[in-house]
């Protein structure tokens, strides 16, 4: 394993990091996570600003914590700053990557939503919004499927699927709060039942 790099980041390095995230943001259809392979290529392979382990754990931690998955981008910036040896620089790195990934996509979304709202009676706008309905719902099913099948343990997999199916039924037909189900899932996993 390659050791954690020790960095001396120059202003031009920060600027190219910022520029790279502006560029990734504008392309990130389907969310920032679709750009993770490109971030890995740039940050780990090309620039050597992060170790492989730092990159992977940034994604895992963001998935484990509550909140949008995009926060893994904040952790990547944080870790780059931390590799220079200072918490202050880590905070600065976090701001660089987060503003970079947010500004272009948010601006585009704001303008598109405003245009769509002002022209909501146009036949084309209605056709787009209603026509995408079946695709959007199907993509939710696909996401659920991919998450539920992300295990490689045939002996235990049926129990995971059972838990997934039970959760889906309870939420679809019942009134139970989501957090209780998450806690139940964590307990079942902690004690090795699923």
């Amino acid at each position: 394993m390659i050791a954690t790099p020790i960095l001396a980041m120059h202003p031009t390095d920060w600027l190219s990091l910022f520029g790279h995230y502006l560029y990734l943001s504008a392309l990130s259809v389907g969310g920032a996570i679709t750009m993770a392979p490109e971030m890995h290529r740039y940050l780990v392979v090309q620039q050597h600003w992060l170790s492989d382990a730092q990159f992977t754990s940034s994604i895992a931690i963001a998935q484990a914590a509550p909140g949008p998955n995009i926060l893994f981008v904040a952790l990547l910036g944080w870790n780059i700053g931390l590799n220079t040896g200072s918490i202050a620089v880590a905070l600065f790195g976090l701001c660089i990557t987060m503003t970079g990934i947010l500004i272009p996509s948010s601006t585009m979304c704001y303008l598109a939503a405003r245009w769509g709202h002002q022209n909501r009676d146009l036949r084309a706008v209605r056709a787009f919004k209603q026509g995408m309905g079946p695709i959007v719902i199907s993509l939710l099913g696909a996401t659920g499927w991919i998450l539920a099948s992300a295990h490689n343990n045939p002996a235990k997999d049926w129990r995971m699927w059972l838990l997934t199916a039970a959760t889906a039924l309870l939420i679809w037909r019942g009134k139970i709060h989501l957090l209780w189900l998450l806690a139940a899932g964590a307990l079942l996993g902690w004690f090795g039942i699923v």
Binding site: S25, A26, V29, G30, G31, Q63, A64, A65, G67, P68, N69, I70, A74, L75, W78, L94, L102, S105, S106, C109, Y110, A112, A113, R114, G116, H117, R123, R126, A127, Q130, G131, M132, G133, P134, I135, I137, S138, L139, L140, G141, A142, I146, L147, A148, T164, A166, T167, A168, L170, W172, L178, L179, L181, L182, G185, A186, L187, G189, W190, V194
Partner: protein
Amino acid sequence: MQPLPQTPTDRRQPKSLADLFIAFSVLALQGFGGVAVVAQHELVERTRWMTNEEFVEEWAVAQIMPGPNIVNMSIMIGARSFGVPGALAALAGMLSIPLVLVLLLALVYSRYASHPDVVGAMRGMGAVVAGMIFAMGLKLSSTMKTNPLGIPLCIALGVACFIGTVLLRWPLLYVLLGLGTVSCLLTYRRIKP
């Protein structure tokens, strides 16, 4: 910038910027493994800022634009009531408290990452999150009853999309551009000008 014009409906509105900030913080803090799961529950069922039909329509826009769906969604809802300040308040709610938690988690992570009970708990929560996403799809599928495409065509397009993404592993962009275009053109032909 002026707030966006409103359509008269009986759904509720966010009362203030603080209301937006708090609602999106509450939403974000429930989202383990992604926030999309709880978005429908919070925005449609709890705050009633949108109907299921509006949720599906706005989600389509959030999906097709670059950036995370849920971040885009928060911007769109904030902007709908309070313009740019609303968008920023909703975005701040979505990101600020979770960001602090993620940093705290990163600081303790190295000590417990390989603990088998923790790994197991994460597995269990992952299975629950998958179930939540299925449930959200099931709830929203009721909006297809009023879709101009009709139920059989909706099912056909949905199945094609599922096969493309899950079995054939097409990139999301191709699915959205390909099947999305077909679906929108069919809808365009069916709704009155």
